[in-house]
Every structure is written in structure tokens, then in C-alpha cells.
């Protein structure tokens, strides 16, 4: 499959990239930013997208890599999934992101696809948005009016839609460190290399044998990632006990609006959310093997 013809630009600074976006906007050209290309190139090959200009972010130094800010990490938007899954700083302070990145697609796609690309693409079945939401990540965006930051709660706005406007670039994501928290990303699929049918990102802090605080992000339970607020509330103060956790996770589908598709209808997804949430929380508190 051959994409429509387009012009290609490979800027080496963010300013140059912004100028290219602004120029295209002024002349009415349809422009697309190219990150890892693992979502954009497939849709261009299907001609579901046919930009007249493609601006490749791949040659701008400084858009990838991880910086330690003390109590948080700043992750460059162009950091590939493979690095997210294997980087020692991520594993030490925000292992939820390593766990989720390791479930994305397959090794070849993880070598090219990027953290920022996956977040801006915002596929409801994508694995990186729900962990970012559960962690209250901050999205650092730059555009014609200069840099701005958007909190996770306002970033995911709808089906494949985020706060990143045309003419803007997501440059990095800042996540607080979750030292001392347990975490797990539980993804339910039927075959290898599949998008999530439902997945749950869990962060749990245990204090004195009791769950003090829990944060749960749901993947593919609506057009955007969601927090499982009712379960989070029920888990606070809950004993680290399989039955108590299961009871709290029975609320995981409250407030969700999942789609029906060939992998399962909405009622099935609501059921799955409770099962997958329970598995995620059990694993996060170190009770794996308590399935059932």
C-alpha cells in the first residue's frame, strides 16, 4: 500500500518544527507530525490520512530521554516504548510505565513507537494513556504562543483527541515519582500482539498492613482513559486481603461507557473491568497467584 505523495521536512530544532507547522497552517496545507510512525504510517498507507507535508520530529535532539528532577521524572515525548520498558530510572520510580510499555504491540513496534506519540494519538485501546492519567502526569506542550502545561485530567478529551492543538508539539511528560507504591498494569487480550480489550493500571500504597491510597486507570472503557473512582474510594482503608480487594473492584465499571466491538460488547467489557481491576490490584500489593 502506497501513501499519497507528500513533502517531507526533518527539522533539527523545536523552533524550526513550529515554524514549519505555522507556515503550513498559513498556506492551508494539511500537515502531520511524524514521531515513531507506528500509528501514522499505517493510516497513511490506508490513505485514511493524506497530509501534504510531514514534519519528522526524529532529528531533533533533546526530545527523547529521561531527566530526574528529584521528586519527579521528565520524559521526552520521543522516548521509544522500548526505552520506557527497560530504562532503570523509570523502573525504579515509575515502574507502572515500564510495565505498560512492555505490553505495547511487539518488539519491533516498541523500538520505533514513542511515549509521546502514543499519548497524542490517544487510541482508546492504547496502553500508555491510562497509566499517565492514574499518575496525574503533566503534559508539556509548546506552540506558537510558547510553552504551556496541561494536567492529565484535562489532556484526554475524546476519541483520538487531546489538548494538543494543531500547530503544537508535545515535548515532554512530567510524572511524579511513586517510590514506595506497588504498581501493576494488567492487560487482557486473547492473542499475542493485540490491543487491550480492557486493561487496568493500578498504583497502590500500603501502610501498616492497610491500603492507604489507590489510583486506578482504565484502558478501553470509554473513548478516553478513565479513573476508576468508586474502586479507588472503596480501596482506601481496605485490608490487604483478596476478598476485600475483590469487593472494592466490583465497582470498577461504575461511570464507564465502553464500546461494543468484535472483541466484546459493552456488558462484557464492564464485567472484564472488575476482573482485570482485581488482578491488577492484587499484583500491585504482591498477592499474585491469588487469582480466582
Amino acid at each position: 500500500m502506497i501513501p499519497s505523495a507528500f513533502d517531507y521536512a526533518a527539522p533539527t530544532t523545536v523552533e524550526e518544527a513550529l515554524a514549519l507547522l505555522a507556515g503550513a497552517d498559513a498556506s492551508g496545507d494539511d500537515v502531520k507530525l511524524l514521531a515513531g510512525g507506528q500509528s501514522l504510517i499505517p493510516v497513511m498507507k490506508l490513505r485514511l490520512a493524506d497530509p501534504s507535508l510531514v514534519v519528522d520530529l526524529g532529528r531533533i535532539p533533546g526530545l527523547s530521554g529521561i531527566t530526574d528532577n528529584g521528586s519527579s521524572l521528565t520524559i521526552g515525548a520521543m522516548t521509544p516504548h522500548h526505552v520506557m520498558a527497560t530504562d532503570p530510572l523509570i523502573a525504579a520510580h515509575v515502574p507502572l510505565l515500564s510495565q505498560a510499555a512492555a505490553t505495547v504491540a511487539d518488539p519491533q513496534v516498541r523500538h520505533r513507537g514513542t511515549f509521546g506519540g502514543a499519548l497524542v494519538h490517544a487510541d482508546p485501546a492504547g496502553d500508555m494513556p491510562a497509566p499517565a492519567l492514574a499518575m496525574d502526569a503533566v503534559f508539556n506542550i509548546t506552540g506558537p504562543a510558547g510553552p504551556r502545561s496541561v494536567e492529565a485530567a484535562g489532556f484526554f478529551q475524546g476519541y483520538f483527541t487531546t489538548a494538543v492543538e494543531e500547530g503544537e508539539i508535545l515535548t515532554s511528560i512530567t510524572v511524579p515519582k511513586f517510590d514506595g507504591w506497588g504498581s501493576h498494569y494488567e492487560k487482557f487480550t486473547r492473542v499475542a500482539q493485540q490491543w487491550s480489550i480492557v486493561a487496568v493500571a493500578a498504583l497502590v500504597r500500603v501502610e501498616g498492613g492497610v491500603i492507604a491510597e489507590a489510583r486506578l486507570g482504565l484502558t478501553n472503557m470509554a473513548s478516553t482513559p478513565l479513573r476508576a473512582s468508586a474502586t479507588e474510594a472503596a480501596l482506601a482503608g481496605c485490608a490487604v486481603d483478596a476478598e476485600a480487594i475483590a469487593a472494592a473492584c466490583a465497582h470498577a465499571a461504575e461511570g464507564t461507557d465502553p464500546a461494543s466491538d468484535l472483541n466484546g460488547d459493552a456488558a462484557y467489557r464492564r464485567h472484564l473491568a472488575t476482573v482485570v481491576a482485581r488482578r491488577a490490584v492484587l499484583a500491585a500489593v504482591g498477592l499474585q497467584g491469588t487469582r480466582g
Partner: protein, 192 residues
């Protein structure tokens, strides 16, 4: 209208400079411009892995990259794996272990296996299967492919009459999968 762009790429140790249309996929560049037809197109949708090559030593699906993105980089295809007329260990192992039938998936399988062994020189059987998650084989049932990769990781040296070591596989994965399926059946079966 769309222009063509000059690129310089090193492919299998040889430097090339060419004018390409930006929409030319890397796999098309390799096959149609350079005649490197050892890299195959299976699905053309980023699923099957038949088009896997290395970009600066790391596996990528060349049907999902533009040739312009490879400008200034090093590409290795299956045709660059043998050295001085001698098959690479993985190629020899696939041959000796009968890790192919029609052979369509083989170049991609070998390139991905090489990338996997570079990142994890001593993978378990499960890690090999997961590492080959993005490569589909419609013939072999994967068993001998996994055996071939495992034998290279284990340092098996194949002489002229190498032996297939597939019998030595532990089948740990088959067991894990059965356990998981039993578990999944009870609570993740459809409800409607």
C-alpha cells in the same frame, strides 16, 4: 507537488546515495531500488514481521518506515547476516533445526531473533516466544523456530551434520498457557 529527497544510507556494509520520493517505504527502497529481495513483504500492515531489518542494530518493520527516515543510518538485512560466505549462527541453526517450511517468514524471524539475542543473550523459552510476538509463521507451529533460537543462545555449535535440538525444549510455555486458559475460562468468558 511533492519533491524527491536525497538520502545516504549504509545497507549491509555498502553506502548508497539515492533520490527518493518521501512516500517510498524503506522495504520498497531495499527491494525495488537495491534489489535486496531477501527482505519480504507479508502483510504490509505492521503485523507479520516478514519485513524486519535492523536500523542501527535494532529491529524495525521496514514496511512501517519511510526510506527518508533511514537517511544517515545503517540498515542490515538478512542479506548482510552471512560473513565471508559463512552463514551466521542463527541462519545455521534455522537450517539445522528445520525451523522453516515455506521460508517466507524466515528472514524476518532471523532478524528479530538476532535483535532479541542482542538485548537478552540468554532468554528463556517464554522470552523467545514473547520476543517473536511480532513475527507470524503460518507453517511451522513455531516449535523449531524457538528451538533454533534457544540453541544459539545455548552456544550449540553446528558442524556439517548438526543435530536438531527441538526435543530438548521444556514446553514450559505450553504448560503456562494451559494454566492461564483454564483460569481465564472461569471468569473472562463472555457474559452475554
Amino acid at each position: 507537488m511533492a519533491s524527491s529527497t536525497s538520502i545516504s544510507v549504509e545497507v549491509d556494509g555498502v553506502s548508497y546515495t539515492d533520490n527518493v520520493e518521501p512516500r517510498l517505504l524503506l522495504v520498497q527502497y531495499l527491494r525495488e531500488r537495491l534489489g535486496k529481495t531477501g527482505t519480504l513483504i507479508g502483510c504490509d500492515t505492521t503485523n507479520c514481521g516478514a519485513c524486519t531489518v535492523h536500523l542501527d542494530g535494532v529491529s524495525v518493520k521496514s514496511c512501517t518506515m519511510f526510506a527518508v527516515q533511514a537517511d544517515g543510518h545503517k540498515v542490515t538485512t538478512i542479506e548482510g547476516m552471512a560473513q565471508n560466505g559463512k552463514l551466521a549462527p542463527l541462519q545455521e541453526a534455522f537450517h539445522q533445526c528445520h525451523a522453516l517450511q515455506c521460508g517466507f517468514c524466515t528472514p524476518g524471524m532471523i532478524m528479530q531473533s538476532a535483535s532479541l539475542l542482542k538485548e537478552n543473550p540468554h532468554p528463556t523459552e517464554t522470552e523467545i516466544r514473547e520476543g517473536l510476538e511480532g513475527n507470524l509463521c503460518r507453517c511451522t507451529g513455531y516449535q523449531n523456530i524457538v528451538a533454533a533460537v534457544k540453541s544459539v543462545a545455548d552456544g550449540v555449535e553446528y558442524g556439517d551434520s548438526g543435530v536438531c535440538v527441538s526435543e530438548s525444549l521444556t514446553h514450559e510455555v505450553a504448560k503456562e498457557l494451559t494454566d492461564e486458559l483454564t483460569d481465564d475460562d472461569s471468569e473472562t468468558a463472555g457474559v452475554s
